[in-house]
Amino acid sequence: MAKGNCPECDAKIEIEDPVIREVTECPECGAELEVVEVKGDKIKFSVVELSGEDWGE
């Protein structure tokens, strides 16, 4: 089980045998994250930019 932190809210995220470019969602803030680096059991994520939904703008 590899671990990393969400770049947006610093939540701890665990993924079983992560794959580069795999996309997951942060369980706490819902940010869409992409696995960009895996070193041993350490994962590095980057945020997949979403088109900002602006309800009722």
Binding site: D54, W55, G56, E57
Partner: protein, 348 residues
């Protein structure tokens, strides 16, 4: 006098038609909507059925110039900047309800709305808030009407920032807004089971109207006034209540606040000061102004926190948009400011 409404499909467009229909000095001669071209106005605005026998048309500059003296732009931001310049060029008077020409600074515009296609026109329009720009509106040719939340916040704040020493860096504006302010486009967030019963903080920082509120208040006071704005959607259709929190840097008593409000708005027929000792509606509440062009303002002094709380209530579609546009037209033509607008709201 002949008037046209461009982009009349939306709620502000429909509200303009409602108000113009009963205006003694104008006739609506031209109404456009890309989506509903060829259809009668009443099919889109049911309250106008059988009253306004006009059909929507596709927009065309020469038709507009041939059929109208005045044009109200009720199109979304970004569209107006394409059309309005063409109308001005053919000598039409334009009252723009979009945000495209409200701001004087191109940079501020870019920050909130993205790049402007016709930056050279910024600052050319008069900011259509009669309570602050009555003189300049007389005889004006091009007016940009304020945003709905900006209208209620500015009217509430103007007398205070120009009369009292407050912390100009820490003015909180906490706004509660009805669903009609989000416009006619339906999406997941306006789905009835999702929209009913919410107290939904939808734009808690960086709300677009911050720019025009700061522009107008800073202009009034002659120094930078910052506004910390937060907007919430609440379970009403029409109506905005802005709650403004000022931190006082000098002792102020109630009479002085009354005086500041009264003198600032002595010649503003649509601003009512509401601060009653008895009754249910002691302080401003949108429910008391729905359907009218009134802006009710009131206040309370909080000595424990040397805080002054101002309340400002409007109907976002009337004083916050279409009613204010008609009010501007009256001033541009030199007519009585209240012409066609002097009616009470619906209550309860």
């Amino acid at each position: 006098m002949r008037v046209g409404v461009i982009g009349a499909r939306g709620y502000t467009g429909g509200e303009l038609l409602r108000l113009l229909y009963t205006h003694p000095k104008v006739e609506v001669t031209y109404v456009t909507s890309r989506q509903h071209a060829g259809k009668p106005v009443g099919s889109v605005h049911p309250n106008l059925r059988g009253l306004l026998d006009l059909k929507f048309e596709e927009f065309n500059v020469s038709r507009a110039s041939e059929k109208c003296d005045y044009i109200f732009m009720a199109v979304p931001h970004g569209t107006s900047m394409d059309i309005t310049p063409q109308l001005l060029e053919v000598g039409l008077k334009v009252i723009d309800l979009s945000a495209d020409f409200r701001l004087k600074s191109e940079e501020e515009f870019k920050k909130y709305y993205g790049p402007h296609k016709r930056p050279e026109l910024l600052g050319k329009a008069i900011y259509g808030l009669p309570e602050l720009h009555r003189g300049e509106l007389r005889g004006a040719q091009f007016v940009a009407c304020p945003g709905c939340m900006a209208t209620s916040a500015i009217i509430g704040a103007a007398p205070i920032v120009s009369s009292f020493k407050v912390d100009f860096e820490k003015i909180v504006v906490d706004a509660k807004i009805g669903s009609s302010a989000a416009g006619r486009e339906a999406d997941e967030s306006t789905h009835h089971p999702e929209r009913t019963g919410v107290v939904r903080p939808y734009k808690v920082v960086g709300h677009r109207h911050t720019a025009e509120i700061e522009q107008e208040l800073s202009g009034l006071v002659g120094r930078k006034v910052k506004v910390a704005l937060s907007a919430h959607a609440v379970d009403i259709v029409r109506g905005i209540l802005s709650t403004l929190h000022f931190f006082l840097e000098e002792g102020v008593d109630e009479k002085e606040v009354w005086k500041a409000f009264r003198s600032f708005y002595s010649d503003s027929p649509f601003v009512r000061i509401v601060r009653q000792k008895i009754g249910l509606y002691k302080l401003p509440d949108p429910k008391a102004v729905i359907g009218s062009n009134f802006c009710d303002i009131g206040f309370e002094l909080d000595n424990d926190n040397s805080r002054l709380v101002v309340l400002s209530a409007i109907d976002n579609l009337v004083k916050g948009a279409s009613g204010q546009a008609v009010q501007c037209m009256n001033l541009m033509e030199g007519w009585d400011e209240t012409l066609g607008l002097n009616f009470p709201g619906l209550f309860p």
